[in-house]
Structure formats: C-alpha cells, structure tokens
Symmetry: D3
Subunit: 305 residues, 6 copies
C-alpha cells in the first residue's frame, strides 16, 4: 500500500508537472472570462419561449401580460447575449487588460441588430413547423412537432445561430448549434444557408457543413451528411479556411437516411437520394438515385455475420 | 454606437412585432398548462428505480423498507403521471375553462391501468437484460448492462411509453421516448411493437417507426433504420395518418450497423442483414444480405478523399 | 370511474407483485452503494479543467493561485475517485458487510497511480487538439476546438477512462465513456488503444470497440463503426469474453462518414476509406476504397422514394 | 445489538402506530394543498423588488425595460398570490372535492384589489425609510437603510401583509409576517395598524399585537412588546377572539429597548418610554417614564452573579 | 497600488501562516467527517411531516398510500439519523482510523430506540397545539398554530432533541434545537424537561437552560429566561459540568415577556410572573409578582431619552 | 367577478403608477450592480472554513492538501471580496459609466490588506472559543462551542467585518454582521471594538452599538443592549453622524440577560450587571447592580395577568 509520505509526493509531483505545462492547452491566467455555455443555453431557451409562445417557458400567461413578458424576456436576453458576444469577441482579441471598449461597443451593435431579426426568424420557423407536420404521417398536429420533434429544436437553434454568424459574432453561434447537436444528434454549422419549410425527421447523425446551401422545402432523414470531400492545405500544411466545399441542395429535394454527399456538388431540384448512398458528384434536377443492389452471401458461423 | 433612444425603440419594436404574431406558432394565452418534460423525466426515473431495484434511485434500501419505498414511489408516480396525462389530453381538447372533468377522469383511468402493467414490463425487461449480456462479449455481467448500456435505457423508456400509447395517452409516450432519444441517440416510436429479448448495441442513430413490428430475440446495432419509404397524401397534400408503413422483423434477426430498411416489408426469421445495406424489399427466412462489393479507386489529391 | 376501494387495491397489488420479484433485475438490499454517475461526471469535469486550464472550470484564476487551484482540484478528484473506484470494485465483490478492506486498498492504489498518468494524458491531448485544428477548415484556431468540438470532449473522456481501464478499475471507465457517448454520440470503448493526433469530426454515431487498435494521426468522421463481426460462444451459449475481435487501423488513415469496418482486420497505413463502405476484410497500406457505384432508378409515386 | 428481525418490527410498529393516529394533528388525506411558505416568500421578494426598484431583484435594468420588468413581475405575483390565497381560503373551507369555485373567485378578487394598493404601500414605505435614516446616526444614507436594515424588511412585510389582512385573506398575511419574524426577530401581527414614518431599530424581540394601533413617527427599539395583558375566556375556556386588547401608541412616541407595554392602554403623543419598563397603564401626552432605580448589592461567589 | 509580485507574496504568506496554526481551532486532518447541519435539518423536517401529516411535506397524499409514505420517510430518517449520530459519537471518540465499530453499533441502537419514541412525542405535541390555540386569542384554529406559530416549531424540535439527549447522543440534539433557535429566536436546551400543554407565544429571546424542569400547562412569552445565576468552578477554573443550576417551574405557571429567572429556584404552581421581572428566588404557589413601579423623570434633550 | 378587461386595466394601471414613482425608493436604472448578500455570505462561510479548519467546509481534507485547499479558498475569497467591495464603494460613488477605476484600485488594496489580517483574527477567535467553553457549564468541550454556539458564529462575523470597517469598506461589513444578526439574533455593529476572550451566551436580542468599546474577558447574556441614549441633531433635524454615543465596558465584566445600558457611560472592570437592569450612568470598578426589588401584587382575573 502507498505510504502517506508517498501520497504527498504524488499529489505535489502531479501539481508541479501540470503547473509547468505550456503550449497549446494553456490559456494565460488573468485573461477575460470564457463565454458560458450554460448562459448561452439559457439565452436560446428564453428565445424559444418567445418564438413559440405558450409552448415553452411560462405557459400560463394571461392576455394582459403577454407584452410585459415578451419585453422582460427580451431585455434579459439582450443583457446576457451582449455579455456573451463580448466574451466571444475577446476570446481572440489582443487588447490587454480586464476590459476592451471596442469589444463592448461591437457586442452591443450585434445584439441590437440580432433582436430586430427575431420576427423574420419566427416567420421562417412557422414554415418549418408546417413542413414537419406535412412530412411525417406520425404527427397528429403541427403543435405536436413544436413540442416534441428534435428536428424543430435543432432548426430553431440553427436559425438563431445563423443570424449571429452573419453578424460575425465569434464562438457563440457554434456553441448554440453544438447545444442542439448534443441534444438531438443533428449538427448544422451556423454558416450553412437553409431555405424555408425545412424538415429533418429523427435526425440523429445529420451533418450540414459550413458552406452548404439548401433551397426551400428540403427534407432530410437521420444520418444524412452534407460534408466536405477534401480541402486544400496551405504551405504550412494547415487547411485553407473559408473555401466553398459543401453541397448545394436545390428546392424540393428529399435525402434518405444515411446518405453521404460530399464536396461542392449540386443536387438538382426535385431529386430524391436513397438511403446509404455515397455521392460525390452533382445530380441533375428530378434525379432518383439509390445504392447498388445488395447481395446475398454466406456468412461466417458464430453469433454474428 | 447605438443611441439609448434607438435602443428603446429596438426593444419596443421587436416586442410589438412578436406580440402581434398569429398563426401556427402561437398558443392561446389562458389555456391549460403544457405537459412538463422535466416531470415526465422524473416519472421515468422513478419507474426505473422500481423496475431495477438497487441499481437506480436509492440504492441503500434495507430489507424491511423495500415495500414502503415501492409504495411511496408508485404513489408519487401515480399523482404526477395522472397530472401529466391530463395535460396531454387537454393539449387538443376543446373544452373551455381552466379544468376539464372528462380529461381528469380519463387520466385517472389510464394511470391506474398503466400501474397494473408494470410487473409485465418488468418481466420483459429481464429478458432484454439477459439478451444484452449474451449479445456483447464486452459485458462482464448482466448487472453491468443494466447500469451502463444505453440500449437498456432506451428499451426501458420505450416499453413504458408503449403501454401508455396502447392506452391512448397523447403526447406523454412520445416525450418519454424522445427523452431516451436525446440521451442515447436511439429513436423508438412508442407505437412500435417489440418482442422479448431485444438488444440494441451502441445504438446511436437507430430509428424504429410507429408501425414497425419486431419479433423475439431481435438484435440491432447502431444506425439501423426501420422506417417508412413513402406515404400517400390526402386531397389537401397532408400525409394520411395511421397507415402501416414500417418493416416487420421476425424472430432471431440480426441487423448490422447503418442498415436502412424502409417500407412495410418483412425480414424473415433468422435473417442477418449486413451493415450499410439499403433494403426496400422483403427477405425470406434465414437470409444473409450485404452491401455490394466496394471498389478501390483513385482519390483526388489534398487532405481528403 | 375507478372507485377508491379499487384504487387502493391497485396500488397494493402492484407493490406486492414488484416486491416479490426476483432474478436478474434485483440487487440484494443492504449491499454497498452503486457508483454514482453524477459524481463520475463531476470528476471528469474537474479533470477537464485541470487538463485545459483557463477553458473549463474557473477561468478567472490569477497567476499566484494556479498551483493552489490545481492542488485543490486534484485532491478533491482523488477523494471522489477513490470512493467511486471502491464502489466499482465492490459491485461484484463477494465480501459480505458494509465495507471491504481489500477494495479500499486497491481503490487507493489505482487512484494514486492514475494521478501520475495525468501529465502524459495532457501531452497526448495536445496532439489531438492540434489534429482537430489541422483537420477542419472551419476551425479558426486550436482554442476553438478545445471549447466547442464534441470530438475533443469524447477523446478526453476516453483517454482518462483508458488509463483507469488499464489499471483494471471496473465500471468507472465505462461510465466515463458513456457520459461522453450521451453528449456527443461518440462511443469509444475504454479498452481501445488510440495513438496521438487523433481527430473525430462531428462524430455522432462513431463506435470504436474494446479491442480496436488505432495508430497515429487517424481521422474519423461521423457514423464510422470499428466493430466486431462475429464472436464465438461458449458451451452455455454465452459469448466468450476478451477475444480480439475489432479492427486495427494503422497510422495516417482517414475513414469517411458512415463506413462500417467489422472484425479483426487491418487497415494499412495511409489508407482512405470512403463513406458508407461495408468492409470486413483487411486493406493494404495506402488503399483507397469507396462504395460501389450508386444507381439511378424509378421510384414509387407518393411523398417518398 | 438489534437483530434484523427486531429492526423490521420496529419500523413496522412505529408506522402502524403513527398511521392510526387521529385527532388534532391529522389533516384528512385528499384535501386540497396547504399554502406554500416558499412561494409566499417568493411573492414577497418579488414585491420588494417592485417597491424598491434597483435595490432588490434584478439591479441591472435598463431605462427602456423597467416597465416590462414591472409588468412581468406583477403578473407573476398575481398568479402565484391568487393560488396561495385560494389555498388559504380552502384551508378551513368545507366544500368537498378537489376545487372550490367560490374560493377561486374570492381569491381573484382579493388579488386584484391588493395590486391596486401597491402604490400606496410604496408611499408609506418611503416615509419609513426616511424615518430610519433620521433615527439612526449610524446610517450614512437612506439607501443604506433600504438595503441593510432589518427594521425596513420587517415593516415592508408587515405593510404588504396588512393589506391582505384588511381584505380578509386567511393565513397568507400571517405567513408573510412570520417570514420577517424569522429573519429579523420582529413579530408584527398583520392586523396591527401603524402610521407613516415608522422606525424599528435593531428590532430583535419586538412584538406588536393584533389590535395595536400606532400613530405617525413612532420609533421602537429592540425587545419592545406591545402585547395583551389578559383576555376573557368563553364558557368552554377558550379565549374570546377579536377583542381589543393591545396598546394604542400616539404620534411621536419613542419606546426604548426591552419595554413591555400590555393591554389596551394609551401612550400619549410625544411620550418617551425608557428601556425595560413594565407598563400596564396609560400615559398622558409627553410623558417620560423609566424603570425604578437599580440597586447595588452583594452577589454570590462563583463565576456568576 | 499593490504590485503583482506583492500580491503573490500576500497570498502565499497568509496561506503559510494559517497552515501552521495549531491549537484549539484546528481539527486533525483525516479525521472522520463532522455531523452535517443540513442533513440534521432534513431529518427534523421529515419528522415534522410525520408528526403533523398533511401540514408539512407532501400534503397531497392519498388514503391508500399514507402508510407507504410514513414507512418510506421513517426509513430515510433512520439511515440519515444513524449516520449523523455516529458522526456525533465519533466527534470526540479516540478510536483511530476511518471507522469505529463501537460508534456504529451504538448509533444503530440509539436510532432504533428513538423511532419507538415518536408516537409518544406525537401525543405530547397534540397537547401543545391545543395549548397554543387556547392561549392566543389571535389563533383562529389549532390548525393555524401548527402551520404558523414559531412556538410550535421550537417545541417540536425540542421534544425530538430531548429524546436523543436522553439516549445520550452527543451534538445532534443541540444542533436540532439550535436550528429552531436560529429560525424562532427560542433557545431550549435539549436537556430541559418540559411537561404537556406547553405554549410559548411569539418566543423571540426565550432561553430555557439544561437543567430546567417545567410542569404541565406552562405558558411563556417572548424574552423569558430560565437560566443559571452562577456556577462553581473546578481547580482549573473551568465550570463544573452537570450541576443543577436552572429554575423549576411547576404546573399552570404563566411568565410574561422579558422576565429573567435565574438559578435552581422553584416557581410554585399557578404563579404569574410579570414582564421584565428579575427573579433569583423561589416563589410559593399562586404568586403574583411584577416589576417595581416605574418612575416618571425628566429626560435629556435631543432625539432620544 | 372582475372582467378580463378590468383585469387588464388593473395591471396596466399599477405598472404605470409604480413606473412613474420617484424619490427616495428609486435607484437610477443603468447604475452599477448592488453588492450581493448571497455572495457576501459565501465569502464569510469560506473564511469560516479557513479560520476553523476541519469544522466547516470540507471536513475530509488530507494532510498533503491542506495548503492547496487554503490557497484555493483564499484566492476565491479574494476575487469575490474585491468585487463586492468595489460594488460597495460604487454604491455612493458619483463617477458615471459602467466602471470606475478608482473604486477598482481601492477595492484591490482593501482586499489585499484584509487578507493579511486573517491570522490575527484567528488568534483572537481562539481566545473567544476558550472563553465560551469556560463560560458555559453545558459545553462539553471547546470543539462543541465552535460548531454549535451562535455566539461564536456572531463574533466570527463581527471580527471579520470589523477589519473591513477599519479599512473603510462601505456596506459590506454591515451586511456581514446583519447576516449573523439574522441567524443568531445578535446585532454587533462592525464599528464596535471588542477585546479578546469575549463570550455571548444564547445571544438573541444582544445589541452592541457602533462606538461601543469592550475590554478583555467580557461576558454577555441574551438581550443585553449596549446602545445610544440620545443623539444631537444638526440644523436639518438629521442626526449628527460619528459621535461617540455608546458604553465602554472594561475588562472582566459580566452583563446578565436583558440589561439595557445606554449612552457613553463606563462600566468599570470586574463589574457584574444583573438582568433587566436599565442603566444610563457609569459604574465604578467591581460594581454589583440589580433591578429594584420586584413586588407581589394582585392581578386582574382572566387568562392573564
């Protein structure tokens, strides 16, 4: 058994080694605080209660107080979001000291503009909800999809994050979509562009990349990847950032579960892509494509294939 | 920088726009409260502690108090579940006013009947636990699968939700299976029918549709879809609800990871479906089917394929 | 409506049935407590704050207190982990009574040794972070991947759990990787061996089995399975435990989303495996393999394929 | 040592005895829920943030959102208070069943009227705050007394409770003043009548009875009792309720610490009552009264008097 | 301004000084844990819900589950109390090591015996509740005193603590009565002996010493002290413990607010002691005693006496 | 019953009235945040765990980690206290804008100096603990008084607050002593000066004023007031601040429960003041003083005096 004296040296030794560590994993002490994932989740939940009144948050509001409630929630969102955006801006900002006036001012501008975008986000989400109801025979009413469907949750987070991405708020949009990714398994990069009446059914494993562009009335099932196939490296071997590398999906396309579409290809409008297809080329409009015929074969003995 | 006077009008303007919004996203104020996801999760956790005594909940019970503990937990479940079922019933119920006697009475009936089903649910889950132990060489004991395997968690939620689905409780069963979906990535519709000794290994991305029917001793791996291929629309373009549209999987079938099986096809007993297969046709008993041979090819240059 | 007298008998009857249940689902009352999932998650989060100082936990530390903070966190980890490991050891231990000196001593040994491994774990994770930055054009800096990428979270949990697995702590490593599985959809068995500079992008649906061995600079995308194909049964029909049954992936291999590789095959160094491939055979070094050509076909009418 | 079998009978025996208990301590099961102390404390804290804006609750409000915040807080107070008042009314109400329409309607009326009284309560409290500042040389500003003085806290709870008492809401006013009693040691019955510019310094041990009437600019120190001396009994030996039995204190009276004044006597305006006085008779205006001269004496030996 | 280098030495210097401190304030590290005040408060609240069913704890129990609820609460009390009593016993116990079998066994005995005392405690409390109702004209019903009167709360804590004191459980009884002291300002030593039908009105400042003995139907008002006058010292100057040093109060005595009675005197049955009296001698039965006549005098000028 | 339209106007009307309120009760919106009572309580609790190691906070520390724990706690105290002191300074500071560099710098200075005072505070408290043990025959050990005696809690808060008062930190010291006042009923102004070996027994109702000065080995019982008798007003009728107006109590004085001593008088060393005495004059050393003889009299009939 370890002796007490050894125990002491174990703890001290590990502390010493870790305290001396440098390099990629260490942030400088005394720097400004990181954005708070918990607060960002609170912001998104508050906005969800504003976008879907009566479904989330306080569902017992009375007629004469709805306006007070909205104003109060948005004021709280405003303050919290401003602080989080500032932290995101400061994450890489080089200004020394505990505060940075430029980040403060920019955070306030972004926040104010973001608020003005909420009514449009709400209009888009109304089309998504209708698409969910029309796209799933198991849905009894549009109401039910608002309250129970992971796809609606993920699209809501994405649509909010996309507005912040367009305003060049760093980190915060990604944290918003990662929060939805963790809950739903749906990973939509906030930089992607997605038209109205979008529906993702079940959704676990869906990936939509940063430069993907989706038209109207697109429907995806679980496990669909709209990803990058390859990307050029710079002279240091690092990937060159910001290059268009993801698929364009035109209006009225359906992609079945597990299909993988990679690269800046175009899936023409009205196409249907079958499940588990691996696709790295463009498709003309109204295409139908499925996996090659499966084959029957003899398996090995034992308890598996 | 934004002026204070502008800030005031931003907030007011957004509040006004959102307060006037109508249509699909708005519930009427003053309606009865929504079911509570948090409470439903509490109910399921309480039931898990009853179904797997000593593993979940209070693991330090003494011999002379087990019965008190069971009775107390079930009484609390009874009250909470009755309230949640009532809210589910009221979600679409048209009776005006703050209460609805009919929903109250129906919620009580469903809850009482549901309680009587718990011993049978427990018997089924015992076969599932044994199947997990026998189906995974990495499992050291059945105990371990109860405590650590996401498949057991998802099947438990499903089996509880399925009983409420059969009793026609709206919304609540779906919220129960979505809770498991969020934790495990396994999405089993509460309407599906699944026989004893069912095992899902790893599980992320599994989807089992509303009208799927699975026999005994079925084993699925992660990413398996038992989904709908297409569904007829009514004259308004909405999907016709309630039609049989998902696979039937007979006894002793194994389906490997990523396989997609769509439509009301039948996978005959004893069959093995290989990974990543796309299947929209029935298979006779004892079939073995795998993806068509993969091909070697030259990839593009760069950091990817 | 159910009568009160019936209600009483319903509750009593269910309690009686459940209290009498025996067999696989029941732990004996009075046994020692189960490991606590919540505490294990706290331990991992505390270690994350130690491994990535400034990113997680208390991000406002000052220069003169870093060492105190590290020492304090590690001391708390030490006590909590020792208790949890003891519970894990006691889970199957047959010693009667409320305590077991042997488990106590063994838990202390494992914990002390584990602490000495943290600096090495930290060095490995630094290579993983750099690999994430280099492997994703969407990443603006290595910092961002530490804070936002689910792959980094899952690999961190795995690398910690793997150390405990190597020290033969039961249950706890599995609970650690399952915690990451639930958040990220990435399921890495703590027994797997994974070299430096490992990157998983997006990650939902990734499965890496107990006896898998991965070299350096391996990159995986979402939905990749490195699983078992079949496994031999013993004379009782139970799977024989501990047999090598998962793939070996050599250095510098990339595997695209949704690929399923089963069995103890070897993927030679420098190979690239395309998305959605089903592979049960070894590949020589520098292979390129993709799914067979997809086919266009006529779909059924209606709202789907 | 107690045997397990004995242990079992101990628990069962105690449960049986307690379950059979009847009489004064038992409420009938199935009755409507009790008022919630925690909720009533939340209501008072919410009102405190409305009455002293910027001191309590959310102190970072911005100019354009104060109105939204007020409206939202008052709406929440309205709903919670209505429910608590209903529970208070139902506490003794004999109507059977889970709800009582009469209590519902009365609770709504009381709540609405109570809200209209808040501006007047606020005006009174402003005079109390000024009196605290003027009455204590240790107070640096009126602000400080709002935030730190237990007397202000107790008077605020009293003034709110008094309004509900006047509206004949049962139980709730008493719970409000008891909450202040517990925090400050100041016990003001909600039925007492107290004029403007009231100040209690330190306050621990102050008691002001149900039928006490205090004028303007009264100042009390800790330990002052304004209580009942005796009260008549009815034919069953129970005290006759509602009889005037407490002191009347006219304007501009100061009562020093520990004075006990009992019975329906009158302390004339401008009087000063010295500390530790026992007084059961009226005083004319502008009286000065102190305890009889203390005496020096020889004490017993030892460590005390 | 302090320099960073100074800041570092400040923290280090203070840590060094405090770490070296010895003597009365330091417990040895590695000793067994202290009793937990929070847990003891939970135990008392659980017992309150058992002693006053329907008033505290879960007030919505149904008729068929009361027994389950009681059994479950008492089982939880049993486990928590056993642990806390063990910690109390270990607080001064000299046995080295992390556990002490003797303390374990004694804690179990005390706990079991304590449980058997609960029905008697309940019977006594029923008389106290009736006394409160009869002793206060402001009380509308006995129910109200159970729920709102600090005297009932303090007496309940005392009666429970007194049972543990009689069983010689160290520390825990005192923590129980101190919890009530903090809430109500009533400080009853758990060693005091108090007969049935005991009522304390308002209560702030009441002190009842360890060796006080009170008969039946005693009524006290706020600020009454039943304390020690002096106590002999041993040869080291420490007070000799355990000597009878507090008043005996016979049946049917009333003591008004602020009276101080010190020493092992006897207040004869039926006596009434007026407010603010200082009494260090015995009184024969049926005495009436009040403070000497107060005197009017001229006060100093200014804002006070 | 109130109509919905009326309800709307009630809420709006009250909001309008309250929003327009001005004057003493309103803080300007947009000002810097108030000190946080909860955080100040956390700071005091953290310091208590540092001053009484092993009794409060984490009681399971191991020998090799005490120093890490101390350093970590003090670092957290340092950051939190700096922020709270800054808020206190800003409470009245007139500098516009969201931050104030001068308050920042001053808060840092005060905090650093305060930390260096902790070892001395600890030495003083050790004498207080010993005095408690020696002053109460009911105390079994000094340990017990640390953990259970409200007097020790109140003195600890006072001694910490007094250091901050001496450093001229506004508001925070008062909030610290008010926190103890609320828990114990003991109200010690942070400005008072109190020598070593100070003991307050029971304590409810004790008041010690801002300019009181107490020597060594003073012992007080519950309900003792060391207050101001009168205070001069300035030309506006406001009390003149900062004048010496409270008693001086020399070494080795005992004051029994309920005694009221007012004004800048001196109680000579070695004196004993009996309970319930009203004293506004100085006493020479070694005095003994008690209340004038109480009188027996005939009471009124009924249930009281």
């Amino acid at each position: 058994m370890t002796q007490p004296s050894n125990k002491r040296s174990v703890l001290s030794a590990v502390v010493n080694e870790l305290a001396q560590a440098n390099g990629v994993l260490a942030r400088r002490p005394n720097t400004r605080p990181m954005p708070s994932r918990d607060t960002i989740v609170e912001i998104v939940e508050a906005l969800r209660s504003v976008l879907f009144p009566g479904y989330f948050g306080d569902s017992e509001l009375e007629a004469d107080s709805v306006r007070y409630h909205l104003g109060n929630v948005l004021d709280e969102v405003r303050r919290k979001l401003r602080e989080q955006i500032k932290r995101g801006l400061c994450f890489d900002c080089m200004t020394p000291g505990p505060t940075c006036d430029q980040c403060d001012a920019r955070a306030e501008e972004i926040t104010e503009f973001f608020l003005t975008r909420l009514p449009d986000v709400r209009r888009l989400l109304a089309t998504d909800v209708q698409a969910a109801y029309e796209g799933d025979p198991a849905a009894k009413s549009p109401n039910e999809t608002i309250y129970c469907y992971p796809g609606i949750l993920a699209i809501t987070n994405y649509r909010l994050a996309h507005e912040l991405y367009a305003l060049e708020a760093p980190l915060i949009p990604r944290i918003m979509t990662e929060a939805a990714h963790s809950i739903t398994g749906i990973d939509i990069h906030p930089g992607a562009t997605i038209g109205e009446s979008f529906f993702i059914d079940h959704g676990t494993g869906v990936v939509i990349g940063e430069t993907a562009r989706l038209g109207k009335r697109v429907r995806l099932y679980q496990g669909v990847t709209l990803g990058a196939k390859s990307f050029p490296l710079d002279e240091h071997g690092n990937p060159i950032k910001g290059i268009d590398r993801h698929p364009k999906v035109e209006d009225d396309v359906i992609i079945y579960s597990g299909a993988t579409i990679l690269g800046p290809v175009t899936i023409g409008h009205g196409s249907i892509v079958g499940g588990n297809v691996w696709l790295t080329q463009s498709l003309p409009p109204d295409s139908r494509i499925t996996q090659a015929q499966s084959v029957r074969e003899d398996f090995n003995q034992g308890a598996g294939i």
